[in-house]
Symmetry: C2
Subunit: 223 residues, 2 copies
């Protein structure tokens, strides 16, 4: 009830005036979190601004106050989820490992990362259904992911110099080979699991698949 910007008159008046303590940062953040949940679960078209408001401690009016439109709120969600994973490759210290171990580590990291971040996988799928037109408009997102390519290129060079990797390999191809498998087994787990009667989230399957992609990539690169 201690509020810095309350006039004397108001202070006297009624019960704590439903309006929670004014806290812009917290309000904005709570809207963003509610929006993440809604958009990830229902997609851009399926999400309802009213539902987002209901998930929040705030009102619908605040959504428009802070984010101007449903579309811009979605963009904020997209940037948030992309941003959460930025630069994480940098912390793997791949340059300290032998080339083969570095690749294994990168693959395992990518695998676990997708496995743990279903939200991210879903929002990227959703964005592609919308032809990637928001990522395209974003200033932030394209600037994030380029460190992976650099990391792979470094490993590639070292492995080539040591005579264990063949030459002429393309870092982007390697990245795609890794990402596609790690992404797909999360993004398509429902249809794939349903059609082939398999639970892709089972731990034994998960471990096996991690090894599959690890071996595939390494064997692809080796001489």
């Amino acid at each position: 009830m201690s509020n810095s910007a309350v006039t004397l008159d108001e202070a006297v008046a009624e019960a704590p005036r439903k309006g929670r303590k004014n806290n812009p940062e917290k309000t904005r953040e709570s809207i963003l979190q509610a929006a993440i949940a809604e958009f990830v679960q229902l997609g851009l078209s399926g999400a309802r601004v009213d539902s987002i408001a209901e998930r929040t401690q705030t009102s619908k009016r605040m959504i428009y106050y802070y984010f101007a439109s449903k579309e811009l709120l979605y963009l904020a969600v997209l940037e948030k989820l992309y941003g959460d994973i930025r630069n994480t490759e940098g912390k793997l210290h791949l340059d300290e490992l032998a080339p083969s171990e570095a690749i294994s580590r990168l693959v395992e990291f990518t695998f676990d990362h997708h496995d743990r971040n279903v939200d991210f996988v879903r929002i990227v799928s959703i964005e592609n259904i919308h032809y990637g037109q928001h990522v395209m408009q974003s200033e932030l997102i394209p600037s994030l992911n380029n460190s992976v390519l650099q990391a792979i290129d470094d490993i590639l060079r070292r492995g080539e110099a040591q005579g264990i990797f063949r030459s002429g390999l393309n870092p982007l191809d390697i990245h795609m080979l890794i990402s596609s498998f790690c992404f797909y087994r999360v993004s398509n787990r429902h249809t794939f699991g349903s059609i082939f009667q398999i639970d892709l989230s089972a731990d034994e399957v998960k471990q096996r698949h991690k090894q599959v992609i690890c071996e595939s990539v390494l064997r692809y690169m080796q001489c």
Copy 2:
């Protein structure tokens, strides 16, 4: 103007009565085609029944007459697009090829198939956003895809017997390795292309990628 079920009175009356010639099959099919276009482009939530009606030579009423609801129309679209690719593996005559060639052929076929059928890739992505709950309800779809596994298993056995493939490989893993790459480069081409500034539909990239997945799979399987 020749119509088999017209009464004498009606025949006299006005101009050909906007109602096109009664043709149930054609009407149903034209609705289905319009629905494919709409759902593939906009997703299940984004699609509008009115828009589908506009794409058709028919009316909105007919959509409900033939398909009962938006959801069931979507299911029909899903089954149609899944059905279009059924049994195509059977026509590849993989059993007539040496194991390695059989795998190459299967990979190339899968690659081209996804590349050419963007509609299919999109509807599968859309379905996964909806947690695969329609595929789950479908009687038809799960019955389709099992021939691939059988085909891979045959190749695996032959290759193993000839001492060129290692033992203990799982057909489903191989299928996933192939599918994930072929699917991803289509499903995620917008975000991937935007972030890494590459046009995945360019022919040279396409040919290179086809070789990447081909080599990866073969190397993964070889002793």
